[in-house]
């Protein structure tokens, strides 16, 4: 029992109802949902952007920290090198000083020895002269005595030198 009238009029009725429902019911609802979707999308993209920024900052900080560490290491190395240098120079100075002292002492010793030897020679010569003159008082004239003295001095000088 197909009814043409019901068939056609129900299509028309549905189309009218559809227009009403989509205009006054569906559209506001869809709009707010679309709005929310956009809002959420914006939030997500914002969050992503912020995260990227934070990551960039973190990387920057890391680079800075690395730089600072490097600087500190360099400073430390330089300081250590300087200290080493200083220590070396101090030691060298000390060594030089000690060498100088040693040399001076040696020279002093040498001089003293020479002096002592000279003094001893003087005394030996005097004693020899005295003894010889005592022994030869009577046998030797003044001129012979002088010659003998010169001879003895000459030989002693050879001995010393």
């Amino acid at each position: 029992m197909f009814e043409t009238g019901t068939f056609v009029v129900s299509i028309v009725t549905f189309l009218i109802l559809f227009w009403l429902i989509q205009r006054f019911g569906f559209k506001p609802l869809a709009n707010i949902m679309e709005q929310r979707r956009l809002h959420v999308e914006k939030q997500i993209s914002d969050a992503e952007q912020q995260r990227a920024e934070a990551e960039k900052l973190l990387a920057e900080q890391r680079a800075l920290l690395e730089q600072a560490r490097q600087d500190a290491r360099n400073l430390l190395d330089a300081a250590r090198a300087r200290a080493d240098e200083q220590a070396r120079s101090i030691i060298a100075e000390a060594q030089a000083e000690s060498q100088r002292l040693l040399d001076e002492a040696r020279q002093l010793i040498e001089r003293e020895r020479t002096e002592a030897l000279n003094a001893a020679l003087q005394q030996v010569a005097e004693i020899t002269v005295e003894l010889t003159s005592k022994l030869l008082r009577n046998h030797v004239s003044e001129t012979v005595h002088k010659e003998m003295l010169q001879e003895a001095e000459k030989q002693l000088g050879e001995l010393v030198c």
């Binding site: 029992m1 197909f2 009814e3 043409t4 009238g5 019901t6 068939f7 056609v8 009029v9 129900s10 299509i11 009725t13 549905f14 189309l15 109802l17 559809f18 009403l20 429902i21 989509q22 006054f24 019911g25 569906f26 559209k27 506001p28 609802l29 869809a30 707010i32 949902m33 709005q35 929310r36 809002h39």
Partner: protein
């Protein structure tokens, strides 16, 4: 089989007044429900707005599953959503209540003749599901068919070609699809209501024991399930048919 009031009953153009009135009523129910939902629109949905947004999401999922591309989905969304909740309300109306009045005198102006009154034992139906009428469901199905082909005709060459390839039997589908599309809905809803009517008519045992009540409850439960499912089935088939004829963005 109850009688219905008709306009132009004896012409080639009889209009079932109950069906049309029930369509309008169902449409108003949907519209009022939606107005309540959007009364205080908020970015943070609560209460009824939440329910309706869930329905929109559900429709969107349904459309995305059956449509070739996002553009068509956006285009079909208002129609799919309206169809889904309109049919849901329509199918449930006949379950919640059917109202029939007893007439003792025929009203020829509304097509209620003495013959029809005697056939229906004087019952004239004034309130039932609009989808329990075959002409109405076929009307919706044919409307979907027209919309689908109107979309298909945006690409006339592909539209012509799709009748013969891959198989000329596709032409047969152009007749069977709208027919089954409409008759499926009508059959399910009409059967549900008819059986409810029969269960209500079971006589009481000893005059007071309602023997039909358990059967009625089980059937009401099942009919509610069927009504909901059929609203979904009709809508998803609509999306499928229109999606099949939306040639833009299709891979083949």
């Amino acid at each position: 089989m109850p009688a219905f009031p008709y306009l132009f009953a004896n012409t080639f153009f009889p209009i079932n007044l109950t069906t049309i009135a029930m369509m309008v009523f169902a449409g108003l129910v949907v519209l009022i429900a939606l107005r309540i939902a959007v009364r205080k629109l908020d970015m943070h949905p609560r209460g009824f707005q939440n329910v309706m947004e869930w329905a929109v999401e559900f429709t969107a999922t349904m459309a995305k599953d059956t449509m070739p591309n996002e553009q068509v989905v956006q285009w079909i969304m208002p129609l799919a959503f309206t169809m889904l909740i309109f049919l849901f309300v329509s199918n449930w109306l006949g379950l919640i209540a059917t109202v029939a009045i007893h007439l003792h005198h025929p009203v020829p102006a509304l097509g209620i003749t003495a013959e029809k009154l005697s056939e229906s034992k004087g019952e004239v139906m004034l309130f039932d599901s609009p989808t329990a009428n075959m002409s109405m469901t076929l009307g919706l199905a044919v409307m979907v068919w027209i919309i689908a082909h109107a979309r298909g005709l945006r690409h006339p060459k592909i539209w012509l070609k799709h009748f013969v390839s891959p198989s000329p039997l596709a032409i047969l589908e152009e007749i069977t699809n709208p027919l089954t599309h409409g008759m499926r809905l009508y059959g399910n809803i009409f059967a549900g209501e008819a059986l409810i009517g029969i269960f209500l008519g079971i006589p009481y045992l000893f005059g007071w024991v309602p023997t039909g009540l358990p059967l009625l409850l089980v059937w009401l439960f099942y009919s509610g399930f069927v009504s909901t499912i059929q609203a979904y089935v009709f809508s998803i088939l609509m999306c499928l048919y229109i999606g099949n004829k939306s040639f833009e963005g299709q891979t083949h």
